[in-house]
């Protein structure tokens, strides 16, 4: 794996609160940008997740605040989804037979944009625009960015319905593809999620796979302090879904869950992936903060911990 020099644009990007702008360390690795299903194995996926975590810190550092906890927490989910499971073509975002990836938690944008760049779906230099005025890389992911964004879901609870529509279209049109959704746990409080769950279960949309990013975190704090979500797995089973519970940081477990989802021929699959907010950075791990402050010194410590020399 080669690490390219930081793009020149970095030096001109605005930093938060007078913080010197840091360079991005996102590697550009051609084999990770190929067309099709990459099916990378665990050791490489660990490198992917590591690179994504670094980029999350680097992107959020520039603003001093953002969705850093979710980004760190879902790095393995995104690594396994984009670099193992999903069949996509970075050069052709409109490929009819591509697997769809829906980010229903549209605010997890530092991680999402980092994954797109690492997969070659947007140029790495585009990350410099992240959350800059006028940039299509918004803090809530928007399809302004282009067709590689399958939908705009800043309004929570809507992603699963659109995904179910896509999964159904595959059946109606006879074009085989899979639809993957990253769903938030706080989002389960939205009634529409259950409308869509009932529909997908009733229709037996077996080409639909949801990964629930179960980090127990929402704006108000711990989800249990808001509404009791458990028993989550039983709820989805009752809606006629295949449910797989996994450690959301265990790449082997995530790959096995995707494989089991693929093998299913009657039901949609819900992978309940337990994740830890801020995973991988000791100062942030386990800290419940929906939109966290990330002072430069904390970010720099985090980057050192992730192997980036200042």
């Amino acid at each position: 794996m080669s690490r390219t020099a930081a793009p020149k644009g970095n030096s001109t990007a605005a930093g938060g609160e007078g913080t010197p702008v840091n360079a991005l360390t996102l590697p550009s690795h051609a084999p990770w940008q190929q067309r099709g299903r990459l099916a990378l194995h665990e050791p490489e996926l660990r490198q992917v997740a590591h690179a994504l975590r670094r980029t999350v810190i680097e992107l959020v550092r520039r603003h001093g605040q953002g969705y850093v906890q979710q980004g760190l927490g879902a790095a393995e989910i995104f690594a396994s989804l984009y670099f193992h499971e999903a069949r996509i073509d970075p050069a052709d975002a409109r490929w009819d037979a591509r697997d769809r990836c829906i980010l229903s938690t549209a605010h997890n944008s530092a991680l999402f944009h980092a994954a797109l760049a690492l997969r070659g779906m947007i140029p790495a230099v585009a990350l410099d625009g992240y959350v800059q005025d006028g940039s299509p890389l918004e803090i809530n992911v928007s399809e302004r960015l282009g067709p590689m964004v399958e939908g705009t879901f800043g309004s929570l609870g809507q992603g699963l319905s659109v995904a179910a529509g896509m999964a159904l279209a595959s059946r109606i049109r006879g074009v085989p593809y899979r639809v993957n959704v990253v769903l938030g746990d706080g989002e389960l409080e939205e009634g529409q999620v259950w409308e869509a769950a009932m529909f997908a279960g009733s229709e037996g949309l077996h080409n639909l796979c949801v990964v629930l990013d179960l980090n127990w975190m929402q704006v108000e704090g711990h989800t249990d302090s808001v509404l009791r979500l458990n028993p989550i797995a039983d709820k989805w089973r009752a809606f006629n879904w295949q449910v797989i519970e996994a450690d959301g940081h265990d790449l082997g477990a995530l790959l096995a869950a995707f494989a089991q989802a693929r093998a299913q021929s009657e039901r949609p699959t819900m992978v309940v992936a337990t994740t830890v907010p801020g995973k991988g950075v000791s100062a942030l791990e386990g800290v419940i903060s929906h939109n966290a402050k990330l002072p430069a010194d904390v970010a720099d410590t985090a980057l050192r911990e992730l192997g980036v020399s200042a």
Partner: protein
Amino acid sequence: MNGLAPTLEVSDFTQGGAHTPAAAAISVPRYYGETLLELARERPEIVCLTADLTTSTETDLFRDSLPERFVMPGIAEANMVGLAGGLARSGLQAWVHTFCVFATRRPYDQVAMQVAYPRCDVKIVGFLPGLSTILGVSHQAIDDVALMRALPNMTVIEPSGPAQVPAAVRAAANHRGPVYLRMLRAQAVLPPGTPWEPLEIGRIQPLAEGRDALVIASGLAVEPARQALQLLRAHGIEAGLANAHTIKPFDEAFVREQARRHRLIVTVENHSIIGGLGSAVAEVLAEAGSSTRLLRLGVRDRFAEGASMSYLFEHHGLSAAAIADAIRKKSKEALK
């Protein structure tokens, strides 16, 4: 069929009870449903979704003929609109059906985010517009046009009656992108020889000339407005009539032109006077700096009640007599 005894025929909830005409709806052609099915036979990309109101939206024809392209999400409009977005993003043209209120007010955010913003090829078809049902306040769509009109990228079409429904459906199908189509099922067979009305999106359709005033009406208000013109003639008032079947994009040029030719413009709509046709005309006149008087007839900023359509139209000033009366009073003022 599930083998159980058939249930009573589900009516379209338009009239009901003592108000139902003797000849039940069975013999009335399903102008909407037939046109949609005809189109779907021509175009394999058309799919049909209905939220537990198949008969009431005439989509039983589609369901029975093209079941593989018929989707029943149940009583879940938010999900239905999201599904439609997903279907449309995957190469299909999705036609969504329910009553007007449940097609607009209830899933408004879903329509905005999953249909209008991404310009998905979704047709949202609402039945029971305005004051057209005994089902009461929950089912009366008096703000749906205002809601849909406020959304960027949305086209809003309301045919004036069954004779214009086929053209409205075809126009919506030919328009690539979001459309809100608002209509009432036909209550009776069109009289023999009735010509089909054309419909060109974005062009107000002039129906009659008149020097004293111009009435711009939409949807179910066109017919009583036409009758009002006759009543006005008896009082020496010659009013013209135009059918604003497209509320968005709105034919501003037509209104500006007519404002130069008339001292009074009257809007008549089966909808709140806030945000619909009346507002659209008012905006054009105000921005043009026109001195033409404006009278907006419609539901005057209040919720309605369940009753027969004739009662409701009478009660809310949309009967021919009430329209003529209001125009007569206003024209005295305007013609001073």
